[in-house]
């Protein structure tokens, strides 16, 4: 009897330890994801920086640069993507921003910074499909080399840079979130981007120039 107990006990212990070993091994095998080369917030543009113009391919195949908008007073640049739920949640609000401010001189320009190898949903073909489906009134640009996104210091999608033209220069005037409620447009109490652009339009200083928001980390190419 005692012997039988001992056998069961030994089996339990060995079995337990072995299953832990297997669990660890399985994890080791899954470890194909290399670390993101995310950068800390101090890199890229900060408020007041002068933006260098860029050339990126739009979903219609044409190359777009800021110089193509000579009559614009500024820009609402939105780093966004197809795959990210936060971007999806904000999609209609970004369209509304363009409808409201494009005619007032602040067109929306959206840029997808993601490596499409990491997210199939963010491929150029899928960007084109989404733009068509939602009839985007603004450019949706692919940052293939990710150089523009790195230059801006974009970290996540969605992330907004409000730019204003000032004596021929294009200056970063607001960095951050669109508003204070990603989940529910009816729960928004602070419209950061609208407030910023409204103030720029009447020549007043922007009150909130920088905000943070949870978003999808940009997947950088290795």
């Amino acid at each position: 009897m005692k012997k039988q107990f001992l056998v069961v006990v030994v089996m339990l212990v060995v079995g337990g330890l072995f299953s832990t070993y297997l669990f660890k091994k399985a994890n080791a095998a899954e470890l194909t994801e290399t670390p993101n080369n995310t950068k800390n917030g101090t890199l890229g543009y900060v408020l007041g920086d002068v933006v260098v113009d860029f050339k990126l391919k739009n979903v219609d195949g044409k190359i777009v640069s800021l110089a193509d908008f000579p009559s614009a007073k500024g820009f609402i640049v939105v780093f966004t993507s197809n795959h990210c739920p936060f971007s999806k949640s904000y999609e209609d609000r970004v369209i509304a921003l363009d409808r409201k401010y494009e005619t007032q001189g602040f067109p929306v320009i959206t840029i997808n910074p993601n490596d499409p190898e990491a997210y199939e949903e963010d491929s150029f073909a899928n960007m084109q499909a989404r733009a068509k489906e939602k009839n985007y009134p603004y450019p949706y640009l692919a940052d293939d080399t990710q150089n523009v996104s790195k230059m801006f210091g974009a970290m996540r999608t969605p992330q907004v840079y409000v730019l204003k033209k000032d004596a021929g220069k294009i200056v970063v005037s607001y960095i951050g979130a669109i508003d204070d409620n990603a989940q529910d447009p009816s729960g928004v109490t602070k419209r950061y981007v609208e407030d910023a652009v409204n103030n720029l339009l009447v020549g007043k200083p922007i009150v909130t120039t920088f905000t943070k928001a949870v978003g999808c980390a940009i997947k950088w190419k290795n």
Binding site: L12, E33, T38, D180, K212
Partner: protein, 158 residues
Amino acid sequence: MKLLITFSIIIFLSVNYTSFAQKSIEVIKFQDLEKLMQKGDGIYVFNFWASWCKPCVAEMPIFETLANDFRLNNVSVIFISLDFKRDLDAVKRFVEEHQIASQVFLIDEPDYNSWIDKVSPQWSGAIPATLIIKGQQKEFYEQSFDYQMLSEKIRHFF
């Protein structure tokens, strides 16, 4: 003999903890997270994730293994989901399917700008993100981890 059996069963249960875990996910506010962050009795690893976030999901088993390996060093892993509250059921399903043994909370605090800096001024808001706390000692990482990298960071707190 009885002692040996009891001891063995305890060992068996503890190493197989994942398969016995029964999960419920509490929806919390930032003040609840703050309280969790102020627990002073060990090393707490907060991982900010979401069920749809590929790099987050990829690194979760690493955190689970680490919690298991460093349990005797008083290391606890706490997963803070940033899924939308309306997706709570999907998060529950995810946690069940992936047999997540560590504690999981869903933070329902959509005004992110009001609390991101309180987690860490280094956090841009992108996920995955990880905060390690022991008393007043804090380290924050906005990146993905593999096991070796993460265990090295934990060892800073030993």
